[in-house]
């Protein structure tokens, strides 16, 4: 189980959409940035608007060993 890609570079103002392609629920969670997708079942999507430049490290709250980072340039 992992976020693909684990590191994503975007420009400020971009919208990022995560899609759960796994058969178990996952989340996109970054408490420091107030990001919480809730539990996403298979096929469900979560979109986030990256406004501020910087790094957003996030995890799957349900599987905390799953980690990803969005770099907003």
């Amino acid at each position: 189980m992992k976020f693909v890609p684990e590191r994503l570079e975007v420009a400020a103002g971009d919208r990022i959409t995560w899609v759960n392609r796994d058969f178990v629920p996952h989340s996109v969670t970054a408490k420091d940035h107030g990001i919480e997708s809730g539990d996403l079942a298979e096929g469900k999507k979560f979109t986030y608007l990256a406004r501020q430049r910087g790094e957003i490290a996030y995890i799957c709250r349900l599987h905390p060993v799953m980690r990803g980072v969005v770099v907003v340039k």
Partner: protein
């Protein structure tokens, strides 16, 4: 690490590896369902017995994820008309699970958490080994093989999660 808890696990690991050479597809289906159900049951026990929030969250995740796998396995077996067939590996798994539950029920608090998580580490490693060495190479039906391949990353993530949890418990 307490040697008392390790013994049944250590005895159990070779049982799965040696129980049979090459299981048939109906036997593989039974092994998959049994292996998942065992971890669901252990998760339910841990969820009700543990007072540790991280252990409870992990236990809930085992219940959720392994239930999802069994839902898929059940649907595939139905679609393929495969009737899961009991076998020595499933029996060895159940025996190991019963021993684990009996051991856990004697424990409370931190020793319970440590024993549960330690068993989860060993169990998921054992299941990963069985997937790689027995289940994937033996599965004849392509869809059954694909299901097992699809499930493998979840087991690997659970193993990593359990190891992470174990390291945290050791520090407390």
């Amino acid at each position: 690490m307490n040697v008392k808890y390790m013994l049944p696990i250590a005895l159990f690991v070779p049982a799965l590896a040696l129980a049979q050479g090459k299981p048939s597809d109906p036997q593989i289906a039974h092994i998959v369902v049994t292996a998942n159900q065992i971890d669901i049951d252990a998760g339910k026990l841990a969820k009700s017995h543990s007072k540790n929030k991280e252990v409870q969250a992990f236990a809930q995740q085992m219940i959720t994820d392994h239930s999802a796998v069994n839902k898929q396995a059940g649907a595939l077996a139905k679609k393929l008309g495969v009737k899961p067939e009991d076998n020595d590996t499933s029996k060895a798994l159940k025996k190991g699970a019963n021993d684990n539950v009996a051991n856990l029920k004697k424990l409370k608090g931190a020793p319970f958490d440590e024993a549960y998580v330690e068993h989860e580490v060993v169990y998921h490693q054992q299941v990963l080994d069985a997937i790689d060495k027995v289940l994937i190479p033996s599965a004849q039906n392509q869809e059954l093989k694909e299901l097992i391949v699809k499930v493998r990353p979840a087991i690997a993530t659970h193993l990593e999660h359990a190891k992470h949890l174990q390291a945290g418990l050791g520090k407390k």
